[in-house]
């Protein structure tokens, strides 16, 4: 029973990181109607930016997190401006393949800069804490709190601001939003910056939790992100948190009771099963996708 509860605790912390990455992925989808295969690269860029920054800011976790977030936002802006908008009007699958090309490019540019070998942060994971039935390190708790905070902020941003209203309008119909006087291009730009920022932060948190990472960090996390997004329903930011919870718990529980090497096997089988049995219910059809109010 204790093992089970500890597993749940780790699962929650995994789910927290996953939800950050997945909510960013789903925001990108909501405004641009494309699945961004280079999304994982935002995480990698964030992680490496924090790695470069930690030397300058003398192991300050907060500074590293800010640098990761800023780098992710810049990457989001650059991808939208340099690629997504250039491919506007092309089929979703064409853009998908193009972002796949971007993923390869970014991964290898990082390999050239930082080398293919893994690097490590110098941050401490903190002490172990018993919180209720769970067993968490200080950084686990920080991760979970920051994920909840980001979830709250995104909710407020989408529901209570003019920006959020514009995002919701664009996600339903970009052309209609445009003729209603919404500056769609600018709002989409801002959304990509926001998504990139969240993803960059997620990348830092992920890298810090794993402890050691390389240029493929984000790419290998991407399919997990997509699974969580699908579980929640793509293009629906709030449901994504539920999806992340499902995926985080499933892989931790399955991994604990078989072998941690097979964690991802279960995640991908879950993805295939979701596609097989809930392709419409969970995976909302593009024409029916809305950001749920």
């Amino acid at each position: 029973m204790t093992t089970f509860l500890v597993t749940i605790g780790i699962g929650l912390s995994t789910a927290a990181i996953l939800s950050l990455s997945a909510v960013a992925f789903t925001l990108e989808y909501a405004v641009s109607r494309i699945a961004n295969f280079a999304h994982g690269e935002f995480l990698t860029i964030g992680a490496y930016a924090a790695y470069s920054g930690q030397a300058i800011f003398h192991q300050n976790v907060a500074a590293a997190a800010v640098i990761a977030t800023a780098a992710g936002a810049a990457a989001g802006l650059a991808l939208n401006f340099g690629l997504i908008e250039q491919f506007r009007g092309r089929t979703a699958i064409t853009v998908f393949i193009a972002t796949l090309g971007v993923a390869i490019i970014v991964e290898n540019v990082l390999t050239i800069i930082y080398g293919a070998a893994n690097v490590t942060y110098g941050f401490s994971q903190g002490k172990l804490h018993h919180v209720g039935p769970f067993l968490w390190t200080t950084s686990d708790i920080e991760v979970i709190i920051s994920a909840l905070a980001v979830a709250g902020l995104i909710y407020l941003l989408l529901q209570r601001t003019r920006f959020g209203k514009a995002v919701r309008a664009i996600s339903q119909d970009r052309a209609l939003a445009q003729v209603s006087g919404i500056p769609a291009r600018r709002i989409i730009m801002a959304t990509w910056a926001l998504a990139g920022a969240v993803a960059g932060f997620a990348g830092f948190v992920l890298a810090d939790t794993i402890g050691t990472f390389g240029p493929t960090l984000g790419f290998s996390f991407l399919l997990l992100t997509i699974t969580a997004t699908v579980a929640g329903g793509i293009g629906r930011p709030y449901a994504t948190f539920g999806g992340a919870l499902i995926v985080g718990l499933v892989i931790q529980i399955a991994g604990t009771y078989t072998s941690s090497a097979y964690e991802l096997v279960f995640a991908f089988l879950l993805l295939v099963l979701l596609m097989l049995f809930r392709p419409n219910g969970v995976f909302v059809r593009p024409s029916a996708v809305t950001v749920r109010a």
Partner: protein, 367 residues
């Protein structure tokens, strides 16, 4: 001898690209599981020919079959795997959903093979298939390599002729009409799932064959030989050559593998940065994919409409703008028509099958 091996490799991948082009170029399904079929074909060819494993090495089967029979069995198994994945992924899922599902399936298999050693010895992989039949053929090592190049080129020619013939057949045109607009194709009486499924199995069979040839070519196979990046090179080659055009696809593979990869071998690779050369190559592949998609999505050689040269006046096709408009429901959407040459004619080009009634209909039954 160096060039023999380069051309052999390009020839093997050209067969693979022909198979992938049937799935992606004709049927329009962006399949990310495809390299897994090559991998399975390769693994099975090994375990069926190299005999029992000696501990601590472990793998399944371990027979001493003749290599030709082993490749044939491997192809059957690969088609079986594709039948399962295809049945799941092709039934209701399209485009990105299809791509993600196939990626999920192949990633699960990849991790399984990598971590579960009794299957194919995990990360170490299988090896030991060195020039099968060399003594029987009474050849030197180099002579065998040249002989093998000949075998690969003959198989490539055979695959090309089959694919080329299929491309112009009612089956090829049906796949293209399904790709352009599924609902319209279904309205014309096409079985959308079955058409796509058959295309998928055909492509997988070619991938299985390629796996067998690849096993002989490199005589060792482990998980690092089938990372997702490998598949991207094939996609890049198809994009360069011309999606949907068999001749273009083969040319694309030779351009990408020989022209491109061989030229980038001479990139500086300083000792302090051993990753520089390979990384640079991957970057160029990525750039090539993006630039081709952006500026010339139809590739160097456009897809040809085959026998169905419907609206032609004075030897020149009528521009899309001057053709009678299709009923609204039959139009491909804006996105699809912007794909460039391949889709320019929309339904008009590929759905012509039924319009040229009699002959096509009879031909259709023969499939």
């Amino acid at each position: 001898m160096y060039w023999v091996s380069v051309v052999t490799e390009a020839g093997i991948f050209a067969i693979l690209a022909l198979g992938l082009d049937v799935i992606w170029g004709w049927a329009g399904d962006f399949d990310l599981a495809f390299y897994g079929y090559l991998a399975l074909g390769s693994y099975l060819t090994f375990v069926l020919t190299i005999g029992k494993p000696t501990p601590p090495v472990e793998y399944i089967l371990g027979y001493h079959l003749p290599v030709v029979l082993a490749i044939a069995l491997a192809m059957v198994a690969v088609v079986g795997l594709a039948a399962v994945i295809g049945a799941i992924a092709l039934r209701n899922l399209r485009e990105i959903y299809f791509a993600v599902t196939t990626l999920g399936a192949v990633s699960a298999l990849y991790l399984l093979v990598e971590n579960y050693t009794p299957l194919f010895d995990g990360y170490n992989g299988v090896y030991g298939l060195i020039n099968p039949g060399q003594t029987a053929l009474n050849l030197t090592y180099n002579g065998y390599r040249i002989f093998f190049l000949g075998v690969v080129l003959v198989l490539l020619l055979a695959a090309y002729l089959i694919v080329q013939r299929l491309s112009r057949s009612p089956f090829g045109r049906m796949l293209r009409s399904v790709r352009e607009d599924e609902r319209a194709a279904a309205a014309y009486g096409r079985q959308v799932f079955s058409a796509k499924y058959r295309a998928y199995l055909f492509g997988a069979a070619l991938a299985g064959l390629t796996g067998g040839l690849f096993a002989i070519f490199i005589s060792a196979f482990n998980p690092s030989a089938w990372t997702p990046q490998e598949l991207l090179v094939i996609y890049a080659a198809i994009l360069v050559g011309g999606r949907g055009n068999p001749r273009g696809v083969i040319l694309g593979v030779f351009v990408v593998y020989i022209g491109f990869i061989e030229l980038t071998r001479y990139l500086p690779s300083p000792a302090s940065r051993p990753d520089f050369g390979p990384a640079m190559r991957q970057i160029l592949i990525g750039l090539m994919i993006i630039l081709m998609l952006r500026f010339r999505p139809e590739g160097l050689f456009r897809e040809r409409p085959g026998l169905d040269r419907s609206p032609i006046v004075n030897g020149a096709p009528i521009p899309a703008s001057q053709r009678p408009a299709a009923p609204p429901g039959l139009r491909s959407d804006e996105g699809a028509t912007r794909e460039g040459g391949a889709s320019e004619g929309g339904m008009g080009r590929w759905a012509g099958g039924r319009r040229r009634a009699g002959k096509t209909e009879r031909a259709g039954k023969r499939e």
